[in-house]
């Protein structure tokens, strides 16, 4: 929304809509437009959790319904006036979301969907059967229209304008949460959650904020709905409300708030246009949703093209600052999976400016060690120190921010972000992402999408991100795998430069002709134990290391 073209499109669309509402729409058309605005708010909210974070919350309809009940009960039972009823409508679902967020947001995606669906079902059961408060199946009647002092927004044009002003508010909230670097962080979090954590992005905090914001906007929409129609029945909590909001988000566009508005306008108007189809209209509606998810992965908004950030010049980027050097010390660290001991009392140190090679056959515990260092798994025993700080068992984002970052065997990237955007997502304020891109030798590809990069460039991108995140120690899991000679030489040169600049590098690789000349020292793991340690030449001759790789000689 920040580039001039989208701004122009937004302006033109807003003016066209306003002209339609003011001069061409009759009473009924205004009513439909109001309904579209209400659902647009709920869809903009849903987009935050479903579209941006990719978490299939099935509770958005529930938040909408709770907002309606809160506003209705606030007006009828507590005698609240207009702005307060909306506040109640926003508050109740937000509180529920905040309450359930911590247990629910840590669930894997299929359990998250189920848990949010379970909560929605419970809310529906309560609303239908707690007759004393909610009016049971009949619901609440006579929710007063919106009035404040002498102004009345009861119906017609004033109500439409009020609702669409709220749409504007929702767009602003959404924009503030997703513009610039925030948006890049969220994109990284959705596409590569492990990498996001390993680069210091605080995923839990972002998920919490987005979940509560989606509930707040869903509740606001529900509260407006209660006032607009004057009735709140358990119908507002039914599954079909969620499906409608979901369909608007999918058809309009997962990540474009304007797409959500477009989806809402379309899906609220469609039944009006397809009245003649009667019962079959809903079949068409389902088929349209199916067609949209298959043929329009980015929704209608995708048809208008991705809003590009202007390409960034990388040539004159200033030299980046190097982080304070830290020594990494691993002290008798162990890890068991069930009955299998993956790591058995492993100790090592890695000084600033040193490249430490880590070798060992498959299954010897190399990746497990990197997972423990980066906090993805917790050790069962031992200590890990970064400088003087004890980082044993700390969460990945804490470890990353302390200065230890890792790369992955299979690069974890957000394919739709450019190289520069990927790095920008984790660059500290005041630092230059472009400089890191240049430093990693990717300035020629800065404006290419990460998803289109060849494997070798992806490894460089992972290193560039780790540097941008402020890593003083890098743990690289098989960075040279699958590279040709030239690419290996480039990578070796980069790693040498980084070591000379004071970075400590833990380098896992199977290619000895790449690793041995590069490493200052080498450690060999076998079955979770350190079996050899020393200069590359010593380890290469060490019988224990040779044995670990080739097993007992059959000859």
């Amino acid at each position: 929304m920040s580039d001039p073209r989208s701004r122009l499109a937004l302006g033109v669309a807003a003016i066209a809509l306003a002209l339609y509402a003011l001069f061409f729409a009759g009473d009924y058309a205004l009513h439909v437009l109001t309904r579209a605005g209400i659902y647009a708010i709920a869809a903009i909210g849903y987009q935050l959790i479903f579209g941006r974070l990719g978490a299939l919350s099935l509770a958005q309809g529930c938040f909408f319904g709770l907002g309606a009940y809160a506003a209705g009960l606030g007006a009828l039972e507590l005698g609240l006036g207009f702005p307060l009823t909306l506040a109640a409508g926003v508050l109740l679902p937000s509180l529920l979301a905040a309450l359930i967020a911590i247990p629910v947001l840590r669930l894997a995606s299929h359990y998250f969907a189920l848990a949010t669906l379970g909560i929605a079902q419970l809310a529906l059961l309560v609303a239908t059967n707690w007759t004393d408060v909610t009016g049971g199946a009949n619901g609440l009647y006579g929710v007063p229209p919106i009035e404040t002092g002498t102004l009345s927004f009861g119906h017609g044009l004033p109500l439409t304008l009020l609702v669409w002003a709220c749409v504007g508010l929702a767009l602003t909230v959404s924009h503030r949460m997703t513009a610039g670097q925030r948006g890049l962080k969220v994109e990284t979090l959705r596409e590569a959650p492990l990498a996001a954590a390993a680069l210091g992005i605080d995923g839990s905090a972002i998920r919490f904020r987005f979940f509560v914001a989606s509930a707040a906007l869903g509740g606001l929409a529900g509260a407006l709905q209660a006032h607009a129609v004057g009735v709140v029945s358990p119908d507002v909590l039914q599954f079909h409300v969620l499906v409608l909001i979901l369909a608007m988000t999918v058809i309009g566009g997962r990540a474009s708030p304007l797409g959500a508005v477009l989806g809402a306008l379309l899906l609220v108007h469609l039944p009006e246009w397809f009245r003649d189809f009667a019962d079959y209209y809903l079949v068409v509606y389902g088929a349209a949703l199916l067609a949209a998810i298959i043929f329009l992965p980015r929704g209608l908004a995708g048809l208008f093209g991705k809003s590009e950030m202007p390409p960034v010049e990388t040539a004159d980027a200033e030299a980046p600052r190097d982080p304070a050097p830290h020594t990494l010390s691993v002290e008798t660290v162990s890890k068991r999976f069930g009955g299998v001991t993956a790591l058995d009392s492993v100790s090592l140190t890695l000084a600033p400016g040193e490249i430490l090679g880590l070798i060992g056959p498959n299954g010897s515990g190399k990746t497990t060690l990197v997972n423990l260092l980066s906090g993805i798994d917790k050790p069962d025993g031992g200590r890990i120190l970064l400088g003087d700080a004890d980082i044993t068992g700390k969460p990945p984002e804490y470890i990353a921010r302390s200065g230890l970052c890792r790369s992955f065997q299979h690069p974890q990237i957000a394919p739709d972000l450019t190289v520069l955007e990927s790095v920008e997502a984790v660059t500290a304020e005041g630092e230059s992402a472009a400089a890191r891109v240049t430093e990693a030798g990717l300035s020629d590809r800065a404006n290419e999408n990460a998803g289109t990069l060849p494997p070798a460039a992806l490894k460089h991108l992972e290193i560039a991100r780790a540097l941008a995140a402020g890593a003083s120690v890098l743990a690289l899991d098989e960075p040279a795998a699958g590279m040709n000679e030239v690419e290996r030489a480039n990578l070796a040169a980069l790693l040498k430069r980084l070591a000379d600049a004071g970075h400590g590098i833990l380098l896992i690789d199977h290619a000895m002709d790449f690793l041995l000349p590069l490493a200052d020292r080498v450690i060999c793991l076998s079955a979770g134990r350190v079996v050899a340690e020393g200069t590359p030449a010593d380890v290469a001759r060490d019988p224990a290391a040779i044995n670990a790789y080739f097993g007992e000689s059959p000859l």
């Binding site: 669930l107 809903l282 389902g286 298959i294």
Partner: protein, 297 residues
């Protein structure tokens, strides 16, 4: 509660759970083959019920075993529908995020629901009984023939599915694809064919459940959501991706629902089931029993 009453409830719960088990089994088969949740599984059960009603006139009232005779036909038709379902709602989004499959199956379920509504109307309809006749009385215990037939059918289908997946070459190939499609393709198995077959089998089972439930519980276009939810919960209880766990989970849910409903009300049973599910997810965020596979980093 007397022992007789308790046994009666247990029997009712077991019959209900047996039908749920077929639904959950289909849910897991698709889950393993496609790596994604089929949100339309409930609507497919509903569709099975309506297909049974639609084809029932072929058999007529005369025979003593209308439902039993219809069962192979209904399962065959639903199997075909399942293959079509895979090609419409799954393969086009196969390479995308798991969530895309969620949404595409929600959409497909929506189409089925509203299609049933437009064709048959919203009112609940009764499907053909498996066996006509009243049932027998053992002491003070009354057992309906229908319930016994439901349990026997479900047991036969479940063990048949187990044997098919475990002992036949095709079944082994289907499991190989479920475990690792690329590796399976590398040894000459055609993943697409096996996945299509998995959908067909899963949805034939859903259709069978639809027929089994349609006489005692009736069938209406809006029933799908609850069936899907029961299967989803059963699979969560039984261990994500485990066939045996799904069956056990479904039986537990059937007995739980019937028992709690008899002691209090159906409403409380429903609410308690969701509440227990949520509590379980709070304390065991990765399910009650160990999952089939653990993601590698």
């Amino acid at each position: 509660m007397t022992a007789i009453a308790f046994t009666q409830i247990l029997l009712n719960g077991l019959a209900l759970g047996a039908a749920y088990a077929l639904i959950a089994l289909g849910f897991v088969i698709v889950l393993n083959a496609a790596g994604a949740v089929n949100f339309a599984q409930g609507e497919l059960v509903m569709a099975g019920g309506f297909v049974s009603i639609a084809v029932a006139p072929l058999i007529g009232e005369a025979t003593a075993l209308p439902g039993l005779l219809l069962l192979p036909l209904v399962m065959g038709l639903m199997g075909l529908m399942g293959a079509g379902f895979a090609w419409i709602a799954y393969f086009p989004v196969r390479k995308r995020h798991q969530v895309a499959v969620f949404v595409s199956t929600i959409a497909a379920g929506l189409v089925l629901q509203h299609l049933a509504n437009a064709l048959f109307g919203a009112a609940p309809r009764a499907g053909p009984p498996l066996i006509s006749g009243n049932g027998l009385t053992v002491g003070a215990l009354s057992i309906s023939l229908q319930q016994i037939a439901v349990m026997v059918c479900a047991a036969v289908l479940i063990s048949g599915t187990g044997l098919f997946l475990g002992r036949t070459q095709t079944g082994r190939q289907m499991r190989a694809v479920a475990q690792d499609p690329e590796m399976a393709a590398a040894i000459g198995i055609r993943p697409k064919r096996m996945i299509t077959l998995s959908f067909a089998l899963a949805i034939a089972l859903a259709g069978a459940a639809g027929l089994l439930l349609s006489n005692q519980f009736f069938v209406s276009p809006n029933d799908g959501g609850l069936f899907m939810l029961k299967a989803y919960i059963a699979v969560t209880i039984g261990g994500w991706g485990r066939l045996d766990g799904a069956v056990i989970g479904a039986l537990l849910i059937g007995i739980f629902e019937t028992l709690v409903a008899a002691l209090t009300s159906y409403l409380v049973a429903e609410a308690l089931l969701y509440a227990l599910l949520l509590i379980m997810l709070v304390f065991r965020p990765s399910g009650l029993l160990p999952e089939r596979a653990r993601a590698r980093v």
